[in-house]
Amino acid sequence: MLTTAPRDPAALPRLLITVLALLLLWPGLSLSELDLAVLVDGDNTRAMGNFLAGFWPPAHDGEFLALLGRATLETLAIATAGMSLALLIAVPAALLASRALSLSAVHRGGRPAWWANLARWPVRGLLIFLRSVPEIVWALLFVRAVGLGPTAGVLAIAITYAGMLGKVYAEIFESVDARPTRALLGAGSSRLSAFAYGVLPNAAGEMLSYTVYRWECAIRASVVMGFVGAGGLGQQIDLSLRMFAGGEVASMLLTFLLLVLLADQFSRLLRARLT
């Protein structure tokens, strides 16, 4: 016969942990100026209600749709152009940073000499720096340097994604079977041909699928970067938000969702075909 337990034996520790967490988070409440009441405040709700009411129907007149189409194409073009520039930086940087083609490692069981590792650090450090600064910060900097528009977005994507792709490529080169490369290097081939015939055949599939995945991320990033003036769909969303044009915001958000969905499907298709 089951009798109800008089009390929960774990209640006290749980209570203490909760109180401790609340004490730690308390200063955060004032620092983050959290105020949910603002949302239900009379004036604000009315302004927001009017704005949201404008969401339906989404704007769909011919002129706006043409603008939307141009902005969408611009977003796609920013992502594609940025990725191709990123590849131009990432592949040489990955070759320099990777241990896979180390000559000193051939006779040392795959471990490069210490001075060889030291020589790789500048490139590794550069790649870390490039990818640690968020792409939208790069975009903001480039908007100031080269002016408003898609060029800033392309450069920002190129820089950040060069850092990410360079690191991942270097790791892929190191993770594939090292024996063909070592045999080629040991037999006296040049490092570039050892790469082309020893590493690349095994690494190409993984590289391609990661690159396509990053292209998909670049599309999302290029939409977000538009908010600091780097062109594309994001810049139009920002403009319409500032003009309180609810219908335009609604149709642009829908376009964004559709674009992300299509890019997702397309990259899945491309990866299935290429790998």
């Binding site: 988070l25 955060g28 620092l31 983050s32 100026e33 959290l34 796609l76 910060v137 903001l140």
Partner: protein, 253 residues
């Protein structure tokens, strides 16, 4: 297959070329004439970061604000996410399941920065808007993860409590929750890590924290001050990465 691959390769190269043509990017103009010198002058402004005590103090406050935004935003998101995960895991019938899933998808599909821009309109400038934006987007992500965790947890403990006469609430708290709790905490901490990064850039649309400081100092052409803010952001990101890496090795693996 061969021809197909060649066509695909040609299509990709064509798309890349078309992108450059469509955007009208003149890479030559970027390096020609005095534009390179101008960019060099702009960049050299960043080489002498401003380490004055007053500025460092402002940055410390901004960093604390960023941390607070991310922590409170993630906490709100976890609460909202759990509240939405229960119907999304099918505990209140089929209609509620589809409605909440739609809501979660919508919350998650809109990026944080767009939410922040919307919240700045709804709640005014400042960290409050950033906290709400993080809470809304993260609630979508966590709600979905929580719902999956709830679906995958074994039902037997809760059923046993129900069959021996416990209420629904008791069955959930003592039958289901202990099983999924570690997963919920792990997901929430992982999102918090993400949100610290996001919180430092949400300020670009006016939502407080380090991002707003960077935006303002760049708008005023104070490169020295901006450089310090970027350094602070880098430090914050690296510190969070190191901390979470250590915590994961210590507790999760």
């Amino acid at each position: 297959m061969r021809a197909g691959n060649l066509i695909l390769l040609a299509a990709i190269l064509g798309a890349v070329a078309a992108s450059f043509v469509y955007l009208g990017i003149d890479l030559g103009a970027l390096v020609a004439g005095d534009s390179l010198a101008q960019m060099g002058k702009y960049a050299s402004g960043f080489l002498q970061p401003d380490f004055s005590a007053a500025h460092l103090q402002a940055i410390g406050r901004g960093a604390l604000e960023t941390l607070a935004m991310s922590a409170i935003g993630t906490l709100l998101a976890a609460l909202l996410g759990l509240a939405l995960a229960l119907p999304a895991a099918g505990r209140f019938g089929g209609v509620a399941l589809h409605l909440t899933r739609l809501l979660l998808n919508a919350l998650r599909a809109i990026p944080e920065l767009v939410w922040a821009a919307l919240m700045v309109l709804a709640a005014g400038l400042g960290p409050n808007a950033g906290t709400l934006a993080l809470a809304l987007h993260t609630a979508g992500v966590l709600g979905r993860l929580f719902a999956e965790a709830l679906e995958n947890t074994p039902r037997e403990p809760a059923d046993a409590i129900r069959e021996s006469g416990g209420g629904r609430m008791l069955a959930f708290c003592y039958g289901t929750l202990p099983g999924v709790w570690p997963q919920l905490v792990a997901y929430t901490l992982y999102r918090w890590e993400n949100n610290i990064r996001m919180a430092s850039v949400l300020g670009f649309v006016g939502a407080g924290g380090l991002g707003q400081m960077l935006y303002v100092s760049l708008s005023l052409f104070q490169e020295a001050q901006a450089a310090t803010v970027i350094l602070a952001m880098l430090l914050l990101v690296l510190a969070v990465d190191a901390l979470s890496g250590w915590a994961r090795q210590r507790w999760v693996s």
